[in-house]
């Protein structure tokens, strides 16, 4: 199982439901990846960054992860699922 974590942008003006997107990704990848919120000192296989729009620049460098997968629109959810599945 991949050890994955998630970071949301702050959500000032999201173009889609970021919480729903996260649930979709989690559910779709339940067989290959486990998700939790980031903890200090923990290494993750993948960091899923869920941005509400394309204007958010943060990559959360303080989180130790081999891969960073970004969703910044509803259209990007399926691609993120495919990318994480390929890592498994």
């Amino acid at each position: 199982m991949l050890r994955c974590t998630v970071k949301f942008c702050g959500g000032c003006n999201p173009r889609y439901d970021r919480g729903e997107a996260y649930q979709t990704v989690r559910t779709s990848l339940a067989d290959v990846a486990g998700f939790s919120y980031p903890e200090d000192g923990v290494h993750y296989d993948a960091l899923l960054i869920i941005r509400g729009c394309t204007g958010c620049p943060y990559l959360y460098e303080e989180i130790d992860a081999d891969h960073r997968i970004i969703i910044d629109s509803a259209d990007g959810i399926e691609e993120a699922i495919r990318t994480i599945r390929q890592l498994a």
């Binding site: 998630v6 970071k7 949301f8 942008c9 702050g10 959500g11 000032c12 003006n13 970021r18 919480g19 919120y37 943060y58």
Partner: protein, 481 residues
Amino acid sequence: MMTKDQYIESLRKLKLNLYMFGEKVENPVDNPIIRPSLNSFAATYELAEDPQYEDLMTATSHISGKKINRFTHMHQSTDDLIKKVKMQRLLGQKTAACFQRCVGMDAMNAVFSSTYEIDEACGTKYHENFVKFLTRVQDEDLAVDGAMTDVKGDRSLAPSKQADPDLFLHVVERTADGVYVTGAKAHQTGFVNSHEVLVMPTISMREGDEDYAISFAVPTDSEGITLIYGRQSCDTRKTEEYNDIDVGNKVYGGHEVLVIFDRVFVPNDRIFLNGEVKFAGMIVERFAGYHRQSYGGCKVGVGDVLIGATALAGDMAGSAKASHVKDKLIEMTHLNETLYCCGIACSSQGTKTKAGNYLIDLLLANVCKQNVTRFPYEIARLAQDLAGGLMVTQPSEADYRNPVLKPYIEKYLKGVASVPTEDRMRVLRLIENMTMGTAAVGYLPESMHGAGSPQAQRIMIARQSNLEMKKELAKKIARIQ
């Protein structure tokens, strides 16, 4: 950080001397008129707990290195200033009301940098006092009210020249341990929901006004403080038997109070300015600048809800495809996003103060607020235009709940057949609430006068407009020697 529930419980411990409608309020937390404002304030705690919003709602303390609520943070970069505006937009979207905690954040950032520079010039220890206070606020995640606006009496007279010396808050007695202050602060947003009040002078001062150049922090339930709750239009709808549809926004709201200080004692280590008249203006200017930036976030978030409600009203009436409806919604969006542009712009052009926190670009912050004194009114006008007269003529919820009348109301207030009549009534009441009811206090007159009335921004814009440089530019192009 405190959770939402811990915050609410902490308010129950305050012994506020609060009056409303002529009577003492023994339990503000559960009072139906006050509770919506508490809920808005509590949202600043609730969202900070949610991973979906923590990136905006929290920051890292420059003092302790710990995660803190952004409302207690000293901005450490222009990125922090931008995140502040985004956080305010977010909270405006979630509450459709004034969530009240910005004023304390803005006051703390202004006093933090000002005290550093006062100490540098005067050899005082105000910054040390303030950092001690701030450390406690951050560690305990306290709610702080920022109190600036004095009642001012005769506007043509200086504080020390007023017929009644108490019309500007001032020191009435000095002891070895501290000072006693008397006076009143008007329009105090969120005071009832705050643990501490940070008091600042209201205007620049001159020699002779030393007793009025005072800044300090005390608990909101200090002996000698009396609060009189501000009346809002339609406020008693919250106490009616049927108080769901007609209030427009059942959960959230805002409040202001008149705060009277009658010989309130301030210990020495809680004093941040005490007689240094030439620095009163610095605190005022910085606080006003931060607060004028704030309105480029919070009012935009509230505007988002109003635009959404107006679009829904169009959908429910079957008018959504009319070209003028679409165009008016575009205009509302254009105005709203223009305010946001100003909030982001003055943040991105911020600079580091000597104390280390960041200050917004004051010219752009004043331009931001000047637009805020106008655009929400136009957005509200367009909302009322598109909502139609039913917004203010529809029957009450009590009529709607009457079994004899309900079928008539269901039948004749129906718009698009698939939309329940009750839904249409709800969205129209929301528009009424935001443009004429309790929430209009925060969205309209507060946009006009909060953080300073329009003329105050124009004075600041004139001061910083760099007109001589502009003249030189014109001379050069026109080839004038």
